[in-house]
Symmetry: C2
Subunit: 361 residues, 2 copies
């Protein structure tokens, strides 16, 4: 039994060891209060400070402008698929979507319940192996917003430059938030489930420009209005306290690492190790077109599915877990988010070379 294995899971995913060890202490006795973090009232001064610190760290690391609200919501990123059109699309209004994978497709399906949805671009026929260049699509001038997924976890594609548009830009950044420097002021709304780059499952971060809060129709349930949560600093009802705390601890770790710019450099280097290995041989084939490659999720194939099965099985034996690709495209996938250590990528690359040498077709 290895002490700690390398976990390539797409999410929930590897977290910083420092953060896990801190949580392990705080869960039993938070900061010598005599009770555990998960037993504290969400209105206690201790937990209010935890929530405020988490928000403030996120603002700091992402340089979020003052006219944006940061919300910590429940229901997963999947709940944003309907909350966005429910809050931002009036009756008969239109929105544009870029369809670059499973998650954008699901978002489109929910949006269609609320308005007229223009699919400005789709790479579905190419098994979502690319994201578009700005020249690949036009956005309907009547659209209230343009929605896209910045990184497609399953297919291993990522927008290296963001869409430019005159309308409000909205992005699902679940699988690459905090992995690279972005300019929040270019967006109307950014959201991300925590369980890839930010923490454990159970909380979704929404960053919303405050002028959008009042667009919401009157007759929707209180809990589904962004404004409800914005007005109460995400404390309208009991928030998912542990998940918010854990995000805060991950952010502290990231700050210590040097912040977003520092981690971006590391992320580029980590992904290069893997892509260089893939590009050095015909044995491994990357799923994504080169210009659309993700720094977070590397989806690739071996010469055949028998070899892929053997590859995944042998990897587990040496402590490389979670390399099975998503069922929708099969093959292999290495998810290497912020907290995934470079040493694990190096070990995978060494294993890939060994495996290729001993398993020729």
């Amino acid at each position: 039994m290895v002490d700690r294995i390398y976990n390539f899971s797409a999410g929930p995913a590897t977290l910083p060891v420092d953060m896990l060890e801190q949580a392990s202490k705080d869960i039993v006795n938070y900061s010598d209060t005599g009770i555990g973090l998960i037993e504290m009232s969400h209105r206690s001064k201790e937990f209010m400070a935890v929530a405020a610190d988490t928000e403030s760290l996120l603002r700091d690391l992402m340089e979020i402008p003052a006219n944006y609200k940061v919300l910590f919501l429940q229901g997963g990123a999947s709940s944003q698929f309907f909350m966005i059109p429910m809050n931002l699309l009036g009756s008969g209004e239109k929105a544009s979507y870029l369809n670059t994978g499973t998650w954008s497709k699901k978002a489109i399906k929910e949006a269609q319940l609320f308005g007229d949805i223009d699919i400005a671009y789709s790479s579905e026929e190419q098994t979502f192996n690319r994201v578009p260049l700005p020249s690949d699509y036009t956005v309907d001038p009547d659209s209230e917003y343009l929605y896209f997924v910045s990184n497609n976890t399953i297919y291993g594609t990522q927008f290296s430059a963001f869409p430019k548009t005159d309308t409000i830009l909205i992005s699902d950044m679940s699988s690459d938030i905090l992995s690279r420097k972005i300019d929040v002021s270019k967006f109307g709304l950014i959201f991300a489930g925590a369980q890839k780059n930010m923490g454990p499952a159970g909380v979704t971060v929404v960053i919303i420009r405050d002028d959008l809060l009042d667009k919401v129709p009157a007759n929707i349930p209180t809990m589904l209005k962004y404004k409800t949560h914005a007005d109460k600093d995400s404390m309208f009802n009991t928030p998912p306290c542990f998940a918010i705390y854990a995000v805060g601890e991950v952010l502290k770790w990231l700050k210590k690492k040097g912040g977003v710019e520092a981690i971006e450099t590391i992320n580029k280097a980590k992904a290069s190790l893997l892509y260089d290995c893939i590009d050095s041989t015909d044995y491994y084939r990357g799923h994504a077109e080169k210009t659309s490659r993700s720094l977070m999720n590397i989806s690739f194939n071996l010469p055949n599915s028998d070899l892929e099965g053997k590859f995944i099985k042998e990897a587990v034996k040496i402590g490389l877990n979670g390399l099975k690709g998503h069922r929708s495209i099969g093959g292999c996938r290495a998810s290497i988010y912020n907290a995934f250590p470079t040493a694990g990528v190096e070990k995978l690359v060494a294993f890939m070379k060994d495996f290729e040498a001993s398993n020729q077709v």
Copy 2:
């Protein structure tokens, strides 16, 4: 600094120490897998087993019949306020509500967005100091369901016998689930946020009779249909893994304690200690009418608010925390859920007697 204090918080609330210590280990290295519980894919065989065990323990402890689904949802109990009418009330249909406190009032407000709401009973004019007897109200025969809150956390009232009705009975049991034996087969739907009697904040349990799953209108968002989650065993999207795990650990503790019947006996004895103290003097006055008294939350007043402030402050000094009453009625409140130790109640009672003796008006 005392090692462990007594935490009378209304929720998130005291959890079993055994459970906290187990979580502290599992969070860093779950069952010797080499990764922490909160880093594991929700589709890993390890986490799938955690979720299945949690459900199976709950079914076992509550004797939930086979024709009921158990769902682990996000969004807090507050999200059930709208999900229930959204899923169960067709256009123009009617439902009846018993208004016995802040939480039923909020539920009524959300339900009014979806249908014709009949408030069959309200104790609002008496500051919600009682719950009704069956003879206190009649339910509109056209109602699709009757909704009530089994225990009112803020006011310290509790239904000792449940409403009898020919229509579907729905109950918010957030603050007394698993505290006493109930017959699930009498209900159409039971729900409860975890953070009082079941675990940490971040997951809400819904127990729903399976014939109700198909009543849902077609054009509501996928994530808001009970059926979506029932069909996928609460794994339609990434669930709040840690909270589900933690509920499982609390349930293991409860089973070891002897289950629901055993804890009910303990709960009655714990509450009696406090009520006997209150009834033995005019110094302390219980908020609830005697026949409506809660075994979970004991709300009481002292001769005046200055003394209440002093009482709360002095209690903290000897490790009795969280005794401040809810802002809507003031005074004091002791929340003594399943995991709250009898020794803590005994210490509070001793303190109450001392305080009364040294603080006469």
